[in-house]
């Protein structure tokens, strides 16, 4: 064996170490996202792109019936959906996370169990809730309401346009609360013990502890969780498909960006298809919303860094 001096031209191997990952990621992730935006400026017949129409698709989308109505409806629904999910997941998620970070019997098991729903497929959860829990004939929820004397609340939960969307939001929160709890428990575990002890010595009660120590300390994680929820909710589709079909039943009351995009781009006109060009326009608007969310995230982290130093 010869001994050779180190660093013999590292350049070449770097290229072939990086290239496979770079190629696949660029071709099947980055380029499609850019290309989908490009396609929203074309008129298309099926999958065959015909001609450049400039802002034509967007003009149609923002001004012409029924495109405009569907878009506005999906957007307002999506905001309502996001607000309900954010509130439930952050609020109850924080409460549970705070409770199970106390030193109490069984806390570790609860941590483990809390994540179980998040591992399931959204499709599975959607069917499970629409068929067994919110079923108008023998749904568990209505039976429980009956048992505790709240019969007047019994309801066609998914058939009523007023309750269908909140129900979907509750189900998604049920599923992804585990993720929120996972982040919050990790963040609360990381709060330095000295700070907690000092506050205790100063005579802080539980509420003051939460208000002045815990919440400020885990604020960055609260922001991260909120952004994750934001991106997930504005591309959510599976829950609508499973609980309200891709039509967003009843009467588009549960239609979100994801389901509108699916119908517009990938179904036949009879089922709400608008052709690839218009579908791409919907997808571009969706991208814009997601990118604004991401930009908000980055601005937040920049300002956070300034405070730190």
């Amino acid at each position: 064996m010869e001994t050779q001096p180190s660093t013999p031209k590292p350049k070449l191997f770097i290229v072939y170490f990086l290239l496979p990952a770079l190629c696949i990621y660029t071709i099947f992730f980055f380029v499609p996202i850019i290309d989908s935006i490009r396609l929203s400026f074309y008129d298309a017949n099926g999958l065959i792109v015909k001609e450049f129409v400039g802002w034509g698709n967007f003009k149609k989308l923002f001004t012409v019936y029924p495109f405009k109505e569907r878009l506005i409806n999906a957007f307002t629904n999506n905001i309502e959906f996001f607000l309900i999910v954010t509130f439930i997941q952050n609020f109850i998620g924080f409460l549970i996370a705070y409770l199970i970070t106390r030193r109490m019997w069984g806390a570790n098991t609860v941590r483990k169990i809390s994540f179980l729903p998040t591992t399931l497929s959204v499709i599975v959860v959607g069917f499970l809730f629409s068929k067994l829990i919110f079923n108008p004939v023998f749904g568990v929820l209505d039976r429980i309401l009956e048992a505790v004397g709240l019969e007047f609340l019994i309801h066609a939960w998914l058939g009523d346009p007023a309750t269908a969307l909140p129900v979907l939001a509750v189900v998604i929160s049920w599923q992804f609360m585990g993720e929120t709890i996972l982040f919050y428990t990790a963040a609360i575990d990381n709060i330095p013990q000295e700070i907690v002890e000092a506050a205790k010595i100063d005579g802080a009660n539980q509420l003051q502890m939460i208000r002045y120590i815990v919440v400020p300390y885990i604020m960055p994680v609260i922001m991260i969780v909120t952004i994750i929820i934001f991106i997930g909710d504005f591309t959510q589709f599976d829950i609508v498909y499973a609980m309200a079909t891709s039509q967003g039943n009843p009467v588009y009351a549960t239609d979100l960006f994801g389901s509108l995009f699916y119908r517009a781009a990938f179904t036949v006109p009879a089922r709400g298809g608008w052709g690839i060009g218009m579908g791409a326009a919907v997808s571009t608007v969706m991208s814009l919303v997601v990118f604004i969310g991401l930009a908000g995230w980055m601005v937040f982290f920049k300002s956070k860094k300034k405070v730190d130093y």
Binding site: I24, K112, V290
Partner: protein, 276 residues
């Protein structure tokens, strides 16, 4: 114990127990429903089955062809994971060891993939796969999964390789090991725990993916478990036993997998999200 403490403890455990029931009961209900004949489901929907009834599962395998879908899903997960590790580990090695301006740019470029949802590129992906003749084939799903998994792979593994002590590299270099040799002989064997964490975190979204199979897959022999489950629901809307056997089958592997590996899992997921 003072009374106040008893009261707070009772409230504490009351809240926790209520929460655990809301989490566990729906999953329990799904499983027991799959173990009842349809008639019993309507008569006794909420409790344990009278006898252990496995016919729903038999029917699912024989009549509804779920064996094939199961194999498809497993194949997709395994092949995707293998290639994600094979491609992202060398890239992570470069990012961890060489920090030129170009490398830092590429690293950020990869990290963007952690937060941008791939669904935004669906139309173009469909077009691409149709022109390649790969739509309606699980290869298209595998390629997408790899592209989505590589950013997380690069991120988790780069972090891990950075923690390997430099002395180890230097010693190997003194012994005449080339850089690719250092990677193959020193780094790769050490990566095992990081690869385990990566595999566990990526397994779940790949197994559960519904969007891309729905859009790309048409023929029966190429369906995955979530797609087949959704279509089964449309087809056998009233055969509750059968459809809930399908739901359970889509969930049981992943739940078991999670319960066994939850420790790695938590670590991997937190690493992937909090620092990103």
């Amino acid at each position: 114990m003072p009374l106040k403490k008893v009261v707070t403890r009772t409230i504490y455990y009351g809240v926790i127990i209520f929460y655990v029931i809301t989490i566990v009961y729906p999953i329990f209900l799904m499983t027991v429903t799959s173990l009842k004949p349809t008639r019993e489901i309507f008569q006794n929907p909420y409790g344990f089955p009278e006898t252990l009834y496995l016919n729903n599962y038999v029917e699912l395998m024989v009549k509804a062809n779920f064996g094939t879908y199961f194999i498809n899903s497993i194949l997709i997960v395994l092949i995707s994971l293998l290639i994600i590790v094979m491609f992202s580990a060398p890239a992570a090695f470069v990012f961890a060891r060489y920090s030129s301006r170009l490398n830092r740019f590429f690293y950020i470029y990869f990290l963007a993939g952690l937060v941008i949802p791939i669904r935004l590129g669906t139309i173009s992906l469909l077009k691409m796969f149709v022109s390649m003749g790969l739509n309606d084939h699980i290869i298209s799903l595998i390629l997408i999964n790899i592209a989505v998994g590589i950013p997380l792979g690069v991120f988790i593994l780069t972090d891990f390789i950075k923690m390997i002590p430099r002395d180890l590299f230097d010693a190997a270099r003194m012994d005449g090991c080339s850089e690719p040799g250092v990677f193959m002989r020193i780094v790769f064997p050490l990566l095992r725990p990081a690869i385990a964490a990566l595999a566990i975190v990526i397994f779940i979204p790949i197994w559960n993916d519904f969007w891309f199979p729905l859009i790309l897959i048409k023929s029966d022999s190429m369906k995955t478990i979530p797609l087949a489950t959704a279509l089964l629901f449309g087809q056998y809307n009233t055969n509750f036993g059968l459809v809930f056997a399908a739901l359970s089958m889509a969930s049981v592997p992943i739940v078991i997998f999670y319960l066994i590996f939850s420790k790695f899992f938590t670590k991997g997921l937190l690493q992937g999200a909090i620092k990103g």
